[in-house]
């Protein structure tokens, strides 16, 4: 299992592995927002938690097709399926690798980007906490979506259509926690709900993803 994780991580980091792309996309989307919404600071600081959450979510989404696609194309996915490692574990490792290479960097970048959106000082802790707790759920759910569409040519857009509604609860709780924190209100409840959601998805999604992979590998 560790071998698979290290392999995926090194593949992602290598040139062409798309490691920095999610981060770059997050930056671009964040920078684009004021152009679309207007530069007024009070408005930007009010919407900053939501914008950052959506930017992180979209960056996660866009890097999901790498989760299984490369292994699918060169046949390694079939080899992984026949290995002694259960397919559920493979899916879980893939999700973990995705989070380490996409989610975690986003969490690190978020406070920096929050500065250019004038996030209120109170909000920084809650933003980072909510993203740190929520992005693993995004990776887990996204891995399921990637498993569903792995056999579909150019399935990226379809995967987005399938995954985005599933992302909604995570986004709601995560952005609520960040928003309430930024406004100085109590944000523990949404954060707790988010944590519950993440734990539940981390537990359940590998099974759903493995089921989808089995169908596609027949």
């Amino acid at each position: 299992m560790k071998g698979l994780l290290l392999r995926d991580l090194s593949l992602a980091i290598r040139a062409g592995g798309g490691f920095g792309l999610g981060l770059a996309f997050f930056l671009i989307v964040t920078v684009l927002m004021p152009f679309g919404i207007g530069p007024e600071t009070p408005i930007l600081s009010k919407i900053a938690p939501g914008v950052l959450w959506i930017g992180a979510l979209l960056a996660c989404l866009l890097s999901l097709d790498r989760v299984f696609a490369l292994d699918w194309e060169d046949g390694s996915l079939e080899l992984l399926a026949t290995s002694p490692l259960p397919l559920e574990a493979v899916a879980a490792i893939k999700a973990l690798a995705h989070w380490l290479t996409t989610g975690l960097p986003l969490v690190a970048a978020a406070p920096v980007l929050a500065v250019i959106l004038n996030l209120p000082g109170d909000g920084f802790f809650w933003l980072i906490a909510s993203l740190a707790i929520g992005t693993p759920a995004l990776s887990a759910i996204g891995t399921f979506g990637a498993a569903l569409t792995v056999g579909v040519r150019r399935g990226g857009l379809l995967m987005s259509l399938l995954v985005l509604p599933l992302y909604m609860p995570t986004l709601i709780f995560g952005a609520e926690a960040a928003r309430r924190g930024a406004e100085g209100l109590a944000a523990a409840t949404p954060l707790a709900m988010l944590a519950g959601l993440t734990l539940a998805t981390l537990g359940a999604m590998p099974f759903a993803a493995a089921a989808a992979l089995r169908v596609n590998l027949r």
């Binding site: 399921f144 569903l148 569409t149 056999g151 579909v152 399935g155 379809l158 259509l161 399938l162 985005l164 509604p165 599933l166 909604m168 609860p169 709601i172 709780f173 609520e176 949404p190 709900m193 959601l197 759903a208 089921a211 989808a212 169908v215 596609n216 027949r218």
Partner: protein
């Protein structure tokens, strides 16, 4: 085994073929009666004026929209557990019907809401959940179209339906959390749960029955098409290989 590959579809085709004219006829009658009754022969509501007549479209459509998804869930489960082809093809057939019902619910809700609340749309939990349901229908239908192998498509869409339902339930609570504080009871308290007066309730129940019969007729009809389409695909593949 020449005509159909599977025995069950044959029985389904025979039974549905016999029933369909009756169910379609009944649906047409009940639906027309209910809508004509509601439109022409009911009074206005003193609060809502004539817009109350929209209830005969909006409420049945909304009820059916969620019921159809539930039916898809059950039939998908039957497919996963018992590999009964007709079941999963019925789910596939039902999806566009549910989607259109959802669309009708959203549209009539907006048209009703504008004069009543002064807005076409509110991000209140019930409306938002309904919009998400529409997206779920789209995703389900898109996945069917995208996957080539029929059995793989059946399995994947069934898994999606299952996972989607779980997330829909979770979303319900998330949405209540998201917006409960702002609008106490601003959501549709105008449906049949409230004490709707008899003069409205009777045509409403008839309309609900009409919409249900319409769904029944359409899903039987479309499932027959799906069974034939599957047979067609098998034949064409055999031709290609020969």
């Amino acid at each position: 085994m020449s005509i159909w590959e599977y025995a069950n579809p044959r029985k389904f085709m025979a039974t549905s073929g016999a029933l369909l004219p009756w169910i379609s006829g009944l649906a047409a009658v009940v639906l027309s009666v209910s809508l004509i009754w509601g439109f022409f022969f009911t009074p206005d509501d003193y609060r809502q004026g004539s817009t109350v007549k929209i209830i005969y479209l909006h409420v049945p459509a909304a009820i059916m929209a969620t019921s159809v998804w539930f039916m898809m869930l059950v039939t998908s489960l039957i497919w996963i557990i018992r590999r009964h082809h007709v079941s999963v093809l019925a789910a596939k057939a039902a999806a566009p019907i549910g989607m259109v019902f959802t669309l009708i619910g959203l549209y009539t809700g907006a048209v009703w809401g504008q004069p009543m609340w002064g807005t076409w749309w509110e991000w209140d939990p019930r409306l938002t959940a309904f919009l998400i349901l529409f997206l779920f229908y789209l995703g389900y239908m898109a996945l069917w179209e995208a996957v080539d192998n029929p059995d793989a498509a059946a399995d994947l869409t069934s898994v999606l339906c299952l996972v989607g339902t779980v997330f829909a339930v979770i979303s319900r609570y998330a949405l209540l959390f998201w917006n409960q504080g702002l609008h106490q009871g601003a959501s549709l308290s105008l449906d049949a749960e409230e004490n709707v007066a008899d003069v409205f309730a009777y045509p409403l129940w008839t309309a609900i029955a009409g919409f249900f019969l319409l769904f029944l007729a359409l899903v039987l009809y479309r499932t027959r098409t799906e069974i034939r389409a599957r047979r067609l695909k098998a034949l064409i593949q055999r031709e290609r290989m020969a």
